[in-house]
Amino acid sequence: MRDVYIVGLGLTQVKEHWNLGLRELGANAIGSALDDAKFDSAECLYVGNMLSGQVSRQENLGTLLADEAGLLPIEAVKIEAACGSGGAAVRSAALAVASGAVDSCIAVGLEKMTDVTADVIAAGLATASDQDFEAAFGLSFVGMAGLLMQRYLHVTRRKRDEFAPFVINAHKNAMTAEHAMFRSGVSLEQYLRCPMVASPLGVFDAAPVCDGAAAVVLCSKQALKAQHRPVRIAASAIATDTIALSARSSLEKLLAAETSAGKAYRLAQCAPGDIQIFEPHDAFTIMTALSLEACGFAKPGTALDMAAAGAFNADGALPICTFGGLKGRGHPVGASGTYQIVEACLQLRGEAGKNQIAGAKRALTQSIGGHGAVAVTHILEA
């Protein structure tokens, strides 16, 4: 397989974009990424998205965005892996270039969520889970995260307030991130007093509903230009686990996340200690803890201890959520995996502004769908 480089980055601010629909969000991000790469077009386009059929009654997103971005007759399809769709689109793009089938490819992650009511979004998110045997019994998407969190608290003998450092850190990082949804901090007191949505999971344990799109342009070594600041994709890996939460061999461990991270470390020939930045799938605080442990950044049951000691803050041993993560930057579900990769590239290029982590050479991003049913891991190198 050939080396693959990320040479173009594009993103929109994450927020409630009342005046922008799917096509504007997606095509703007694609245009920005192509401009950044100084490419007129690419050979193919992968669109990561989860909810367009339900929220916007629009599928065939490959063609929609190829058309809107002025890229016809480019090869273009939608890639769906629930909340991991954005990461999965980059994985497909990386495969296309690595295989030698194409020399350049665009991956865009895109989600439009705020056109509909909370009920519609809740039903949409639940499609990531086992519809017949879990969602059909009233287990909402946040409810499943509540079940995971309750179990983790029970097994590790922790208290809910020990998850607060993840939230405080994410929001603190988002304050200086121009594209983030929330530019205000959250205090420990605010976290402790927030209402429960699925006990023991409170509203501040969950990432917000929002709109956004982020895109990357990938190319082969031959297609690199002198003015590029390439970031190499050292590893790209996807793994799956049971779609039903109840069928998992352990609730305290994300097996798919562990497997895909393990594959990624082998591909990149590195270990957790060689990573300087981690962008986790912090859709819920419990997912941050489980993802940290699955990727080998914390031993099982110890992620909260390390968080309390500040290990994951901007000045800690392993900064996470460096632009606010899903919690602070926002979680337009099918776009989040692509935002993570754009943000990691900004860090590795030294273009992260006030959010820059000094000297970062290698970053790991992990995009997860269906509470660990599918996990996409990327390792990126400056």
Binding site: A118, D119, A122, A123, A126, D130, D132, F133, E134, A135, A136, F137, G138, L139, S140, V142, G143, M144, G146, L147, L148, M149, Q150, R151, H154, P195, M196, V197, A198, S199, P200, L201, A244, L245, S246, A247, L251
Partner: protein
């Protein structure tokens, strides 16, 4: 839930029908195409135990459309080791504890609206003495 899919799910929903693998004797719930233990596809219907204990639970503040409040979601591990997702009933959330004994009952699960149907299925309640 659509009427046709409810029809397909009647066995597991109303009778807690799972499967026994004729190759390796593994018992699983819900029914599926392949055996989780040996990937065999020769599976016969069998009922699974109707008692077990709460493995995890969560009170969902805003239940999905069609479900009534309060909604206590749970993962219940049946005697013998199968875990399933369900709702707890006949109990307040502040009385629920991980490890408590529960038993299956048949209850109304959801009302899907004009184009759907009344969905009945299993819930679990504290085991009666």
């Amino acid at each position: 839930m659509q009427t046709a899919s409810y029809f397909r799910l009647e066995g597991p929903f109303l009778r807690l029908e799972g499967q026994r693998c004729t190759t390796c004797a593994h018992v699983q719930f819900p029914p599926r195409v392949t055996c989780r233990a040996c990937r065999g596809r020769r599976l016969e219907i069998c009922e699974v135990p109707r008692e077990g204990h709460v493995m995890s639970f969560s009170e969902i503040a805003s239940p999905p459309a069609g479900f009534s409040s309060p909604l206590i979601a749970a993962l219940v591990t049946l005697d013998g080791g199968i875990t399933l997702a369900c709702q707890l009933t006949d109990i307040d959330s502040d009385r629920v504890e991980i490890g408590m004994r529960v038993e299956m009952v048949t209850r109304l699960i959801s009302e899907t609206g004009p184009e759907g149907c009344l969905v009945y299925g299993y819930k679990f309640r504290p085991k009666l003495a």
